[in-house]
Symmetry: C2
Subunit: 225 residues, 2 copies
C-alpha cells in the first residue's frame, strides 16, 4: 500500500527537461503515485500549457494547471512582459539573462508544495539543472536545498525536492530520456524561446537542445512535426 | 546618499503587527527609504486591502498591491475558501489552524523579494512572530532563516528578512507601537478574523489583540471607531 510518503508531484512546464523528469518520477515512484502541476503565469508562449497537458496525457498521469497572475503584475522580464523582447541578451543592471524571471522557480516549487500539502504528496520533482543552467541562480543545487528546508519548516511537513537533472549535461538528459522511454513524448514538448513549432533553431534554448541531441547521437522527434 | 543596501520593503497586511513593523522600518531606515507591499490573494476580508492603503498613507510611504490568484485556486483554507468557515478550530488531518494558508508567508516574502529585486531594495520586513504565533509554522525564526537563504541564492542578491516582532509578546508589540508613535495608525488597522469593524471581540485574533493592549495598559484606538 502506498502512503503519502510515496506520492510525487512533478512541476511540468511542457519542456524537454520537465518531461524527462516526469518519466523519471514514473520510473521511481510508479505511475499511480505520480501527478503533475503546471503554472499559467502569463507566459507569452501559451503553447507551453498545451504541451504540458499533452505530455501528461501521453505519460498517463493527471495534470493540474494553476494560475499565477503575480509575475505579469511585477513586469520587467522577457517571458511575461510584452515590452521586453525575448533575446539571448543580459540585463545591463543585474547581468542576468533577460529571460530570468526573478523568483520563478522558488514560487513554482512553493506553490507545488502547497498543492502537495493539500493532496498528500511529499516528493516534489523539478527539471532544474546547474550544468547548463544558462545563468539562472534559482536552478542551483544550494538554492534548492535552502528552499527544501524553507518549505519543510514553513508547512511543518517533510518535503523532498528531487532534481534528477541537476548535474547532467543536455547530452546526458537526452540519454536519460531514451533510457526511460520518454523519447516519443519529446515530440510533444516545447523549448523554443521564440515560441515557434517547429522550433526556430536560433535561440539559446533551441541551440542547447539541438546540441544535446547531437552529442547523444539521437534524432529529436520534435524536428519531424 | 542612500543606496540599494538601505532600502526596505515592508509586507503590509493592514493588521496590527505589520503596521507596527512599518513604523519600525521608518524608524530604522528613514521614511524616504521605506515602501510597502500588500497582496490581494483573494482574502474574504477585502477590508484588509483598504486598511493597508490607509495605514501607508498615514505613515507617508508608498504602497503597492499585487494580485495573487493562486491561493483561491488551491482552495481548502478558511481565509480564501468560501466553503470553509473562519473559526478557531484546527484541521483534523494536519492539526494546524483552519486559518493556516499553506505557504502564505513563504509566497508573500518571495514575491516581495522579486519586487524588491526590480526596485532596488535589499531589506524585507515582516510582522511574523513565533511568540504568539497561533500554530503557524511559517512564522518561525528558523523558517525565515531558511527562506532568507533561498531567496538570496535564488535571486543572486543579498536579502535580509527582518522580523522585529519575532520574540515579542502581543503586549511587547503594543509597547513598541507606542514607542514608535504608531498608536494613532492602530485605529486604521484590521485584525478580526470575522471581518468586522468595530471588531467582534470573540475570535482568536481579536482576543489576542485585546489581551496585548490590556497587558500594556494602553487603550486600543480601534475600539473608538
Amino acid at each position: 500500500m502506498s502512503t503519502d510518503r510515496d506520492k510525487a508531484l512533478v512541476v511540468l512546464s511542457g519542456g524537454q527537461d520537465s518531461t524527462t523528469c516526469l518519466y523519471w518520477a514514473i520510473d521511481r515512484f510508479g505511475p499511480a503515485n505520480v501527478s503533475s502541476i503546471t503554472f499559467d503565469y502569463g507566459q507569452k508562449h501559451r503553447i507551453e500549457l498545451e504541451c504540458a497537458r499533452e505530455v501528461a496525457t501521453v505519460a498517463g498521469v493527471p495534470n493540474v494547471c494553476l494560475p499565477i497572475d503575480t509575475f505579469a503584475a511585477l513586469g520587467g522580464d522577457a517571458l511575461t512582459d510584452t515590452a521586453v523582447p525575448v533575446s539571448n541578451g543580459v540585463d545591463e543592471e543585474t547581468e542576468l539573462p533577460v529571460t530570468f524571471v526573478a523568483g520563478r522557480n522558488l514560487i513554482f516549487l512553493t506553490f507545488a508544495a502547497a498543492y502537495a500539502y493539500r493532496h498528500g504528496a511529499r516528493h516534489l520533482v523539478t527539471g532544474v539543472a546547474q550544468t547548463d543552467y544558462s545563468g539562472y541562480p534559482d536552478c542551483r543545487e544550494e538554492t534548492m536545498a535552502a528552499l527544501q528546508l524553507a518549505i519543510t519548516l514553513g508547512m511543518d511537513r517533510e518535503f523532498t525536492i528531487h532534481t534528477p537533472l541537476m548535474h547532467r549535461t543536455k547530452k546526458e538528459t537526452v540519454d536519460l530520456a531514451v533510457q526511460l522511454g520518454a523519447l516519443e513524448a519529446m515530440a510533444l514538448t516545447h523549448t523554443c524561446y521564440n515560441g515557434q513549432r517547429p522550433p526556430c533553431g536560433e535561440c539559446q534554448a533551441c541551440r542547447l537542445r539541438a546540441r544535446g541531441f547531437a552529442e547523444a547521437g539521437v534524432h529529436d522527434p520534435l524536428l519531424d512535426i
